[in-house]
């Protein structure tokens, strides 16, 4: 059992990382956007009235403004594409799952205990797995393979874990993180922050599950889902693992072993340095462009 410990009013490390990501992106972006909107207009106007040659005249005076405008347009584009793709994928997945799942009646009283009444569905598949999806009303999906093979205590552990994701609206947060990353793709430290968000949420959900039913059912459920079935025993599973998944799993097992959350992975200094450098460059371009816009306005008056 994970010791309760003193009650902290702080957010768990996953949500801390998520809100840090949101604040970092909107803070930085807000600053750049105020200047950027005027810059996009001015650059656009110059392009229309004078033609592309005008941007290179004046000793490259317009160059930072042009680059900033290009960056703003490009990143808004990538974020838009990402958002559209994620929303489409979410809608299709919901439709497909609706056709393939049925409500999980026998466990509805248990589900209700975790605030999941009517939100747990079962999908026909031999592999044992469970996940939470749905942006506005998150739902939990269990496979028939898991329901059939897992003892009741393990299913309770899985439901407790997933209910933590539902309560925190993690699918929606995942989508927001995806879109923010797609927009600020040139700041590599944010990607690291995002994986810390995912790992931190998993650890928090594990703590919620262990507090309800102890370590053993949770470890058992993890093992049941992870252990390769007999027909897959010939494949080296480790070869298919992505690094971040392996690190998250390692942290989850360590938390079960030690009873406390392992310290989050620090952002590598290299990423931090590169991101700061790029952010400073973009801000410098924005300030430079703003001064240019101001000068042009003064001249027009």
């Amino acid at each position: 059992m994970i010791p309760a410990g003193p009650i902290h009013r702080r957010l768990d490390s996953g949500n801390r990382a998520f809100w840090l990501l949101v604040v970092a992106v909107f803070g930085f972006r807000g600053l750049v956007s105020i200047l950027g909107c005027c810059v996009v207009c001015v650059v656009g106007l110059r392009l229309v009235t004078v033609g592309p040659a005008a941007l290179l005249t004046g000793g490259g005076l317009m160059l930072p403004a042009v680059m900033l405008a290009a960056l703003l347009v490009a990143t808004t584009g990538t974020a838009g594409v990402r958002l559209a793709r994620s929303l489409y994928a979410d809608r299709t997945l919901r439709r497909e799952l609706r056709a393939r799942t049925h409500p999980y009646d026998p466990y509805d009283p248990v589900a209700a205990r975790f605030g999941l009444a009517g939100r747990v569905h079962v999908v026909t598949a031999e592999e044992p797995f469970a996940f939470t999806h749905g942006l506005w009303t998150p739902r939990v999906v269990l496979s028939t393979g898991l329901v059939r093979t897992a003892p009741p205590a393990e299913l309770v552990a899985v439901l407790a874990h997933e209910s933590a994701h539902v309560r925190s609206r993690d699918p929606l947060k995942v989508l927001v993180a995806q879109v923010l990353l797609a927009r600020e793709f040139y700041l590599p430290a944010l990607r690291h922050l995002s994986s810390r968000f995912v790992a931190g949420r998993e650890l928090a959900a594990d703590r919620a599950a262990a507090a309800h039913c102890g370590n053993r059912p949770l470890a058992g459920a993890l093992l049941r889902v992870l252990e390769p079935p007999s027909w897959a025993a010939t494949t080296p599973a480790a070869a298919m693992a992505s690094c971040s998944n392996a690190a998250t799993l390692d942290a989850r097992i360590t938390q079960l072993e030690t009873g406390s959350e392992p310290p989050p992975q620090r952002t590598p200094r290299r990423l931090l340095l590169a991101s700061t450098l790029v952010a400073v460059l973009v801000l410098a371009a924005a300030v430079d462009a703003a001064i240019l816009v101001q000068q042009m306005c003064m001249r027009a008056m």
Binding site: T124, E127, T132, E162, N215, E227, M240, L249, L256
Partner: protein, 125 residues
């Protein structure tokens, strides 16, 4: 089954019935047992390669060619897997990523299951 043709379905059924990965030749022989006219080797090879591309099979080198085995254990699992693979962009939070446990992680989990004191794994809900 979602997105599979008749020959692909037949090949999948052969592989689901088998206990081990099969080579193209083995799949061909089993498909041709009750079939007239017989299928050509290259036809089956193409079908298996296409199934591997769709994520329904994985292949491993064996001799001069490949041996194939299904990634899922039955048609329903394959359908669900293809839905999840196809819409991997959607915001999903999995209980745990299925692929990717190294033997050491599994050993540590097994130790936790065996040694956790106090709580019985069979507590009814």
């Amino acid at each position: 089954m979602a997105g599979l043709g008749p020959l692909e379905t037949a090949a999948m059924e052969v592989l689901w019935r088998a206990d081990e990965p099969l080579s193209v030749r083995q799949v061909l022989d089993r498909l041709n047992q009750d079939r007239c006219p017989l299928l050509a080797y290259t036809t089956v090879m193409t079908v298996l390669a296409r199934l591997a591309d769709k994520g329904a099979l994985t292949r491993q080198p064996r001799g001069r060619g490949f041996a194939y085995r299904p990634t899922g254990s039955d048609p329903a699992a394959l359908a669900v897997r293809s839905v999840l693979t196809e819409h991997g962009d959607a915001a999903i939070v999995r209980f745990v990523e299925q692929v990717g446990a190294d033997p050491d992680a599994l050993r540590r989990l097994r130790r936790l299951v065996d040694n956790s004191p106090g709580d019985s794994p069979e507590t009814p809900p």
